[in-house]
Each structure stands twice: as C-alpha cells, then as structure tokens.
C-alpha cells in the first residue's frame, strides 16, 4: 500500500511539474459509468476527442457500473493532483465524502449527463440535457408538420417510472396540449429496446385497424423507433409516409432509416457533454469565472434535410 501511495505521490509531483512547465495544459480525470449503451460509448469517445483537440491530458477511468469504482477513481485523481475531475455519476446518492475531499484539495468537479442528491457547492457545475425539452421539440415538430390535419398518435414509452420516460412524455404532451387535432390514442412501454418497440408497435397496428388509423408514432428513444419501423413495414405500410416516425436520441441506425425515408425526425441527445464542461473549466481556470450551476445542452432536431446519411456515417465512428 505504501508503495502505491509513493507511486501516486510521484505521479502527482510529475503532473504538478509538467503543468508548471506548460501552464496552458490541463490534466483532467474522467470517471465514466461504463459502456452499457451505444450512447455511453459515444460519450466516452467524444470526450476523448474534445480533450485531444484542446490539448487537455485526459485520464480515463471506467467504473463498470459500480459507484465504489467511481469513488476509487476520484480518490486516485485527487492523489494524482489533477486540475479538474469529470464524473458521470452512476447513482444519485453517496457522493458527499469523496466530493468533499476533492473540494478540500481545491479540484473543481463537473458532473456530466446525470445529477446527484447533495449540496450544490460540492461541484462546480453539471452538464446535462433537458429531457422535458427533448419531448417538447419532438412534439413541436409534429405540430408543425401535421398543421390542421387530424392526427392520432401512438406513443412508445421508455421503461415505466424511469426519469427519461416521465420527462419525455411530459414534454411531448406539453407541445401538443393546445392542438385538439393531435391526440395520443395509445401509449405503452417498449422498455427502450428494439425488440419490445417492435412487439408493442405490432400490437398497436392490429388494434388500430391494421395501422390505417395511426398518423404518427412517437418513441421515447431511437431504438424503439427502429423496432417500430420494422413492425410498420411487416404490416405492409410505409414508415415515414403512411405513418410518421419521430423519436429522440440521434443514433446512427435511426439516421440510416431516415436516409431511406423511413423516419421523419429525431431530437439529438448530444454525446458531447464534455465540450461545454471543458469550456467552463477553461474559463474558471483562466480568470475564475464561475459557470452557471446547470449547463443545459442543445436539443437539436434532425430531419431528412440534415444529411442523415452523412450523420449516420459520422456517428458510427464514435462507437454508437
């Protein structure tokens, strides 16, 4: 153990020396949750890219879905004397001790993608998307597309009770609230998966006169939309034309479907959470500018006009 401590100390001194030699360079530790989804993998590779383009020395630690690993990694970063720490917290609770240690060591912490329960002074800022807004952007697109025509919408919800499912449903409902021509006629959970999305859509198609009564499908994530597109095709209808398809996330396979004319719109959940985080850190290090406590990333709408084929190719290289 003492050898490890000495090594850590040596590494810390080395880092301190090198940062003294090149004042502009920053060493940032990044504790990632793991790689449980394609989006998470993309977030990791985008973070590495962003660090490289800014000349930031990124120390990456994969926690494999365990908070104890994240706490160990953060303590390691503190021992190494990094300039800042990025954390994508796997759970919301239990961060007080380790983040207080970081605070005592005067290392700013930025939360990525998810929040924590705890005093706000434990971290510099948090970068995350606004899930209600994502749903609202999707709903606004549908409102703008169908205009005055009647539109019966079927909804593929995420996992029952999960935060993104609740928020994305809420945002969409807010967007269509003032438009009596648009109504959600069926809503079921597809558990955020392709298989369940396909199965639920098959049921909806049977229940709504073979799909002839459905004007649009709104899926809480792209994977369910991809499953729904296959179900619509199996039913002998044209997804994207006979039934509009709108979803959230912006994964490559959805862009491929969009390029084939089978999907109409997706709201991007950007994997670039690190970019705004690095910007905030750079400003903070330079002249002590304290960023807002919650930095909200853009929820950009993509339609077939936004080069879906190119987007699909570009995103595949990110590890989705």
């Amino acid at each position: 153990m003492s050898i490890l401590k000495k090594l850590a100390l040596a590494a810390g001194i080395a880092t301190a020396l090198s940062s003294a030699a090149m004042a502009a360079d920053m060493t940032v530790g990044f504790s990632q949750i793991g790689s449980e989804s394609g989006w998470r993998a993309a977030e990791t590779s985008v973070t590495k890219q962003q660090a490289e383009s800014r000349g930031i020395n990124l120390k990456f630690a994969d926690a494999q879905q365990k908070q104890e690993n994240q706490i160990k990694a953060i303590r390691g970063f503190i021992a190494q004397g990094v300039d800042a720490i990025l954390v994508a917290p796997v759970v919301a609770t239990g961060w007080e001790d380790v983040l207080s240690e970081a605070k005592e060591a005067k290392i700013p912490v930025v939360l990525l993608d998810r929040g924590i329960d705890g005093p706000q002074d434990l971290y510099l800022t948090s970068v995350a998307s606004d899930q209600v807004k994502e749903g609202k952007v999707a709903g606004d697109w549908l409102v703008g597309t169908v205009k005055d025509k009647d539109c019966r919408v079927v909804e593929l919800q995420g996992t029952v009770g999960s935060t993104p499912a609740i928020n994305r449903k809420k945002g969409f409902e807010e967007a269509i609230a003032g438009h009596s021509n648009i109504s959600i006629v069926r809503s079921q959970t597809g558990d955020f998966t392709r298989s369940k999305g396909k199965e639920v859509m098959e049921g909806f198609l049977k229940a709504e006169n073979g799909g002839k009564n459905i004007c649009a499908v709104y899926a809480h994530n792209d994977d369910m939309a991809v499953g729904a597109i296959q179900a619509i095709k199996d039913a002998g209808l044209k997804p994207g034309t006979d039934i509009l398809v709108v979803s959230i996330d912006g994964v490559p396979d959805l862009f491929s479907a969009m390029a084939a004319g089978e999907a109409n719109a997706t709201v991007e959940l950007t994997p670039n959470m690190a970019g705004p985080a690095f910007d905030a850190l750079a400003a903070y290090k330079k002249d002590g500018t304290v960023p807002p406590k919650f930095i909200i990333t853009e929820s950009k709408l993509y339609t077939p006009a936004d080069d879906p084929k190119g987007e699909a190719e570009r995103r595949k290289s990110l590890g989705y």
């Binding site: 449980e36 079921q188 199965e199 049921g203 229940a207 002998g236």
Partner: protein, 333 residues
C-alpha cells in the same frame, strides 16, 4: 398422471389459454381476425405465436432441466451471447449458415459448462447456472463492444422474420423442436430416465442410469435451445442487442414450465404443456398491448392472472374440482 401426451387436450393449461384468448377477444374484438398478407398470415393470434416462440423454445429446454430437479438461469444470457456471436460473424464477412453454426456451438458450449458444474462437480444447479447468467451477458457485451451490432444477412433475417407455408419461422422452429423433443423423451426411455434422476439421483444411478451423462445432455439441450432463441431474437430486429436480448426471459421460461404443470421438485414434466404455458404468458402480453390499458397496469394484470392459474392448479383446488367432478359422474351413472 406422469405421462401427458398430445392426446389429452382438455386440461387446466389449455382451458387457461383459451380463457386468456377469449378475454383478449372481449377487450379487443378484432383479436381473432387473421388476414393473408404478403405471403404470410397476419393477425394478433399470429403475434401471440410468433412473439411467444422464443420463450416457448427456452421452455422446452428448461422443462427437461427442471424435470431433473435442476434449473437453468443462464438461458437469457446464452441468448444474448449466441445473438452477439451470430451478428459479429456475419458482420465480419462469414456466411449466414456459418454464423448460425457458430451461435449453436456457443449454446452447446454453455450447456456443457453448466452440465459439468452440475453433474461432475455436484454444484447446486441454481448456483452453477447463476455463474453463467451473470458472466454471460458480460461476455456478450464484450463481443458487441457495448453497441447494437446490426446486420443484413438474409439467412439470419429469414430465421427471425421469414415465413414457411404462411407461418412465421420462429413458430415453425418452435413447433418442430417441440415435436422432436417430445418424441425423443416419450417414444424412448429417456423421458423415464430424466424423471428417475429428478425424483432421486442416487437411486437412479444405483439402478444403472448414467445420470452424469444424462444431466450433461439435458443442460446441453437447454443451451442449444437458448442459442436458437437468441438467433431468432437477433434476426427479428436485425441486430444483436447484448444489453437487452433475453433479459429476464429465464424467469418467463421457468414460469412457462411451472404453468405447464412441471414440478420444480423434479420427476414430472410435459414439453407440450410448457409450450402452452409460454403461449399463455405471451397471450397476456399481446392482450395488454391491444387492449389499450396504461403500461402501469402490465405487471399487476400479469401477476393477477398467473396467480389465478396457479391457484387452479394447486392440490387443494384439484381436490375441490375433483369432488364436483366425481359427484357429477356419479349422478350420471
């Protein structure tokens, strides 16, 4: 009552299945409507068969395992692994049949692993298969590197979504497998051996049954069944989703076997009834989808119906029903 063959049609399971289907019909009048579309049958009833096929296939292997007083918790993870292997192979440029062969080999290897732990090392089945349940999904994620591996190989897609004589391929495969395994266990002595090992392994061994070989075989069959289900699920969505493929399906497969009347204490089993059990579970799922209830009700409704079915099958209910049955037949005599 140890031997239930194709001949016995009127029993608790078929009555339960028909009841659930009728309930669906009441909630959604178009439930029994079947159309011919693009060279295949199309309708809610077909959906029940098609979507129920993976669990039915798992249940075939699971029933044999449970009959030996074991359980195979790893089938969901094996599904994820076989799908991942098949998808990765076709993406790497191998042909469809090679990918199917590779996936089946993975299933066989997993089954043998479980079998060795249970039969050779005498580890309790629930623990032995728990190892692969946890590790298997991790291995699948390593194979796919955490993302969904999509493919366009015609062989795999045909297995998942193709049709034969108008029936979806998964249904055809599940039916063929059910007939094959039922014939093997009931037209030979193997079924009797399985039951003997399930009732008392030591006694069966002393009586001359090679119980180790039998257990190895049974777990291997379960592994291969899981691999087939994994190929179907991957072919269905044209991609291997290591995180979600087969997730919790081991529990559905055990439930299907139990609804089908297979005893968790071993020694009593019926392959066709387990398949009916799988269809009962799927009929409920499809029914919930077409009925239009909010998703918060899904699990409560399912649990309620399962409880009723299991209560009807309980020994007490059997005595009560048997009492009325005797009385009736007595009166007619």
């Amino acid at each position: 009552m140890t031997r239930i063959s194709f001949g016995r049609i009127f029993n608790t399971q078929t009555i339960a299945l028909v009841s659930v289907l009728l309930l669906n019909w009441i909630l959604f009048p178009g439930f029994f409507k079947i159309e011919w579309q693009d060279g295949r049958l199309f309708g809610s009833l077909i959906d029940v068969l098609n979507r129920g096929a993976p669990v039915a296939i798992l249940a075939i292997g699971m029933t044999a395992v449970i009959a030996t007083k074991g359980v195979d918790l790893s089938v969901g993870a094996v599904m994820a692994m076989s799908g991942a292997v098949a998808a990765t192979l076709v993406v790497a440029g191998y042909s469809g049949p090679v990918a199917v062969g590779g996936a089946l080999a993975v299933g066989l290897a997993c089954g043998l692993w479980n079998g060795v732990l249970v039969a050779m090392l005498d580890i309790q089945p629930i623990i032995a298969t728990l190892v692969l349940m946890v590790a298997g999904r991790g291995i699948a994620q390593l194979i796919t590197e955490g993302s969904i591996v999509t493919f366009s190989d015609p062989t795999l897609i045909f297995i998942g979504t193709g049709s034969f004589l108008g029936m979806p391929m998964p249904v055809v495969i599940a039916f063929a497998l059910m007939v094959l395994v039922t014939l093997v266990v009931r037209k030979t002595a193997i079924g009797l051996f399985i039951e003997a090992v399930g009732v008392n392994r030591s006694a069966a061994t002393l009586a001359g049954i090679r119980s180790r070989l039998l257990l190895l075989t049974v777990y291997s069959v379960s592994g291969i069944c899981a691999a087939i289900a994994g190929i179907i699920v991957a072919g269905d969505i044209r991609g291997a989703d290591a995180n979600n493929a087969g997730l919790w399906l081991e529990l559905d497969a055990i439930l299907a076997a139990v609804i089908g009347g297979t005893s968790l204490l071993g020694g009593r089993f019926s392959i066709p009834m387990s398949v009916i059990g799988a269809l009962i579970i799927q009929a409920m799922n499809t029914g919930i989808l077409v009925s239009g209830y909010p998703p918060e009700f899904n699990l409560v409704v399912k649990a309620g119906i399962i409880t009723v079915i299991l209560m009807i099958q309980s020994p007490l209910a059997g005595q009560v029903l048997g009492f009325f049955g005797r009385k009736k037949s007595g009166a007619s005599r």
